[in-house]
Each structure stands twice: as structure tokens, then as C-alpha cells.
């Protein structure tokens, strides 16, 4: 019992991390489902989201302040909310440009989509370096969700509670969207058999564009929420997107709740390992992946899919 109590803050860290990994993974999975493309630039879009948010919240950095002077007189909480709403839209715009480039690879070897997005990841990361410089930036957070609360002599970070709750909210909204709306049904149908969806008279080109924009917006949201925890570096995208791969393979490609469960599992394993052996916490998720996938080839809840061609 004592052990569980001391683990408390680490479990919270793991929970927040896991839920955000799940959020990144879900955006990623929407794109895999409908487009059959592994978007290696997903992590860079995650980082871009964090940077755009920094530009919208932090008064440092010159350019933004000069152009939008009066805007920066708003209090930080207001700017934080604006960033949470606006940055994903900006990133979704970038995602749409990428999708237009990707169109040339549809219907060909999936390898090409993978390679194109790898190039895009390089380009985005260099662009970030060019615009914001290589040094680490910080996203100011409203005072109401910073600091810590002490429970049983241990300090719990308030922000991580916020991040977890936010991610849970986003995941539920996403689920409702997919289950309850017409567009959600189209996305699921598109993931199942996109040609049939087209044959039924749905504008597949537009559906793909929107799904891609939506997936990248989710990456950006996760990037913003993660920013105060991880800090904002040009390379931060890789740290986010690789666990998202792990989560997807672990949960089973195409399975919504598989991704959520796998995300939580990965987060908790990373968090708990972090309590005992910090250096090894990032390796633990790969060991978990290999163990699970050896026993269950398609991941926890995965089914046979078109992606195995």
C-alpha cells in the first residue's frame, strides 16, 4: 500500500502522458484508416502546434507582439484558450497542404506516402528551426492550472490533472463524433473501404482532405497540452510520434479503444518505470510492445486490415 502511495505522482504523470499519447495516436489512426498513409510528419505537426501556441501566448518573440499589439494585452488565460482554438486550425491548414501533396501517392505503393511524409517532417522541423530558432521555448500556462497540491505528503502537479481531464474530454468528444455524426460514419466507412464509399457518391477527395486536417488538428491540440510538460523543442515531434506508433501497433491498427487502452498502458509503464529507473523509462514501452505483439500479432484489439498487403 505504501508503495502505491509513493507511486501516486508517477501514476498521475503516466496517466497524463498516456492519454496524450492516445490522443496523438487517434489522430494518426484516422489518417491511416482513410488514407492508408503513415503520416511520419504527424510529430512535426504536433511540434508546430506547440510553437504556434507559444507564439500566440508568449509575449516574447517580437514579431507577434509587433503585429498584434493589442491582442497581447489580453490576460494569459484568455490567450491560452485562443491558442487552444486557433493553433490547431493553423496546423490543420498546413496539414491540408500536405494532403494535397500526398494525393500523387494514392493508389500506389504505401511506401511512397510514408516517404513523402518523412520528407515533410524534415521540412517542417527545419522550418520551425528557421522561424523560432533551435533553443527550447516555454508555453506560459494560466496560473489557475499550475502549481501543485499536496496529498498525503506527496506533491501532485495540477497541470497534469488538467492535461488528463482535457485529453479524456477530447477522446470522448472524438468518440461521439465518430459514433453519432454523419461525418463520423463516413470516416469509419472510408477506413473500411474507401472505394465503396466513393462508389456511393461521397466526395472522397474532400473526405480525405478533411480527415487529414482533422487528424493534424488533433496532433496540434496534443502538442499544445503537452508543451508545458515537455517543453517546446524543434525535435519534440519525434518524442511524441514514436510513442504514438507504439500505441497504435500495441492497441491494434484501426481500433479506437485499443489505442486508448494501449495509450494508458504505455503511459503508465513509462511513468512507473520512471519512478524506479528514470533512464530506462523510455525503453520500457518498446519492451512492452515487443512482449505484447509477440503474443498477439495484431495488437490488443486489432483485426486483420487492408494495411497488411
Amino acid at each position: 500500500m505504501d508503495l502505491l502511495v509513493t507511486l501516486g505522482p508517477h501514476l498521475l504523470n503516466g496517466l497524463a502522458l498516456g492519454l496524450l499519447f492516445a490522443l496523438v495516436a487517434l489522430g494518426f489512426m484516422l489518417v491511416i484508416g482513410v488514407m492508408e498513409v503513415i503520416n511520419l510528419a504527424h510529430g512535426s505537426l504536433f511540434a508546430l502546434g506547440a510553437y504556434v501556441a507559444v507564439a500566440l501566448v508568449s509575449a516574447e518573440g517580437g514579431l507577434g507582439v509587433a503585429v498584434l499589439g493589442p491582442y497581447f494585452e489580453l490576460p494569459i488565460p484568455a490567450r491560452f484558450v485562443v491558442a487552444l482554438l486557433l493553433a490547431p486550425v493553423v496546423v490543420a491548414g498546413v496539414g491540408m497542404v500536405l494532403e494535397v501533396c500526398l494525393r500523387r501517392t494514392y493508389g500506389r505503393d504505401p511506401l511512397y506516402g510514408l516517404l513523402l511524409t518523412f520528407g515533410a517532417a524534415l521540412v517542417l522541423e527545419e522550418l520551425i528551426r528557421l522561424v523560432w530558432g533551435p533553443t527550447e521555448r516555454f508555453l506560459p500556462v494560466p496560473a489557475s492550472i499550475t502549481g501543485g497540491i499536496t496529498v498525503g505528503g506527496l506533491i501532485y502537479s495540477v497541470y497534469r490533472f488538467f492535461a488528463s481531464a482535457f485529453a479524456v474530454g477530447m477522446i470522448l468528444l472524438l468518440w461521439l463524433f465518430l459514433q453519432r455524426t454523419r461525418y463520423g460514419a463516413l470516416i469509419k466507412a472510408g477506413a473500411h473501404d474507401s472505394e465503396m464509399v466513393r462508389a456511393l457518391g461521397v466526395n472522397l477527395t474532400r473526405l480525405r482532405l478533411l480527415v487529414f486536417a482533422f487528424g493534424t488538428a488533433l496532433a496540434a491540440v496534443a502538442g499544445i497540452v503537452m508543451a508545458p510538460i515537455w517543453g517546446v523543442r524543434p525535435h519534440v515531434g519525434v518524442d511524441a510520434v514514436v510513442p504514438a506508433f507504439v500505441v497504435i501497433v500495441l492497441g491494434g491498427v484501426g481500433s479506437f479503444w485499443g489505442a486508448v487502452i494501449a495509450g494508458l498502458l504505455v503511459g503508465l509503464v513509462v511513468g512507473v518505470t520512471g519512478a524506479f529507473a528514470t533512464a530506462w523509462s523510455l525503453v520500457s514501452m518498446y519492451i512492452l510492445l515487443i512482449l505484447v505483439v509477440t503474443v498477439r500479432g495484431r495488437g490488443l484489439l486489432g483485426k486483420k486490415s487492408v494495411l497488411e498487403r
Binding site: 492508408e36 503513415i38 511506401l111 511512397y112 520528407g119 507504439v246 501497433v249 518498446y286 515487443i290 505483439v293
Partner: protein, 341 residues
Amino acid sequence: MTAPGSRQLPGWGSPAMLLAFAFFGTLPLWIERVGLYRYLGVEILVWCVFALGFNLLLGYTGLPSFGHGAYFGIGAYAMGLTQFHLVANLWVGLLAAILAAAVVGGGVALFISHRRGIYFALMTIAFGQMFFFIASKWTSVTGGEDGLLDIRRLPADLGPVAFDLTSNLAMSYFAFAAFVAVTVVLWRLTHSPFGKVLRAIKQNETRMAYLGYRVVAYKWASFTLSCAVAGLAGGLFAMAQNGAYVQVMSLQWSGVVVLMTLIGGGLVSFWGPVVGTVVYFVARDLLGAYTESWLLWFGLMFMLVVMFKPEGVAGLWQDLAARRAARRRARTGALQPAAGD
């Protein structure tokens, strides 16, 4: 240029091979005249070896690995560790580099060679990242973020004569010798029945399985062999750099070898990876002289290649050759169809 997909006469070489050997064999003599430096030649040759081995997997078997930097890195560490803790002998070091990468790669391949497409790619990323993190945290063995420093370029002892490799000129020739050996071996391999099976797996894995081929075993062999070559390249790189560093094992560097292989045309030509490596390093030095963010421009170039000409430089060359041949045929009025290339 010879396409992996085209019919080949089994043989030990081709005019393109002689051309490549002449180019790289004389490289140390003129590289400084064109404003570059000898160490660049060493780097190019080492990465050519890496990319050629990688293309066995990507271009011939159609399996994308985004974690190959790990095996390159393992080779580099093995080179250093045998030198420090076992015996200071060049050949033992290189053998250890090859074996270490092949054993680790073979082990990984056991887990992933029955996978396909995107699953395969994701698993290679997961394994690559795992080795990257292990290497960066296992400080007592790998030196962690600082790397394994002071790896010596041991003399190449051939019995009666021994060559000192400390100068970049000597190292160039040594890397060239390794390049020749790897090229000849891979050429033979890809033009053997084994290579034909790999190409067939690339085209249709299911059909090959129904034809009775043990597809998983072939994929395992292809992965392990390309890891062994990556290990050799890593060992050479550790010599060239006088150290082994963890960065080469990162996702980004694993991606760079994919980029080199593809941009040169590894999907359609044996020589694609070589062309791509030269393009990459020359672009790095030329663009890098003008702008800090040369990777931005290189990345854009790469995106354009994937969008408009995924067969890369070699593909362009083949198109030109085909057009020239067609024009010649039209001119001479020959009626017989062109036989192969």
C-alpha cells in the same frame, strides 16, 4: 543502369560497375581539385556501403526499414568495444562489427519478418528507437550521449605488409576496398536465384507463399544480410570518425539512409543508393555552404522526387536511355523490338 525488375544475365559485373569502381578508385586523387576534401570521400564510400546493403531490403525485397541506423550504430560500437576490451586488431574489429549487427538484426528479424507493409515499417521504427534509447542510456558501455571516443584506425595487417590507415588518403582506399567487396557480393547476390526470389516477394508476397517459397525465411535473410552490411559500414564509420556516436542510431539518421537510397533510385536500380549517397553529401556541402537550413531545401527536393519521380535519379536516366533508344530505332527504321536493356 540495371533495373531490379529487368532480366539479367548472371554475371560478376557490368560496365556500370567498372565505371563506379573507376570513379571511386580515383576519387582521392582528384577530390581536392574540385574544391572538396578527402574525408568527404571516406564518408561517401562508407554511406554507399550502408545504402547498398539497405537497398537489398528496400529496393529488392520491398521492405521499408526506418530503424536501420541502429544496426549501423551497433557496428560502430562493436568496432570500438572490441578494440578497447578484446584485441586491437582491425580485422577482428570489422568482423565483430558485422557479426554484432547481424546477430542483433537477425534477432529483430525473427520478430518482424512475418509482418507486412505498414506493420513492418512501424515495428522497425520501434526496434530502432529501442536500440537508440538503450545506446544513449547505457553509459558504462556506449559512453551515452558523449559517445565512444578515441577509436583508433588500426593498421590493415595483411601478413607480409601492413598499411597505416591514419591518413584520410589511406582510409579512402580502405573504404574503397570495402565498397568493392560489398558491391561485388551484393551484385552476385541480387543476380542470383536468391535475388530473384526477393524481387518476386516485393511484387507479390502472397503468390510466392502459395508457390511454396518460405517467404518468411527469405525476408529474414534479407533483413539480416542488410543489417550485417550496415554493421560493416558502421565499423568503417567508427574508424573514419575516430569514435562511435549515438546520433546515427536516431530515427532521423535512419531516415537519411532511406532518403539517400530513394533519391538516387534504389527502387529501380542497383546503383541508385550510390548515386543517392553522392547527391546527398554533395548537396550537404554545397547547400550547407550557403544556408544553415540546407535540410529544408533537401527535404523539399526529396518531396518533389517522391511526388513526381519516385524512381529517382536512376529512373530519370532510364527514361532518357529508353527515349534515346526509341529515337535511334525510329531513325534506323529497325522493326525488331528492343531486347531488354
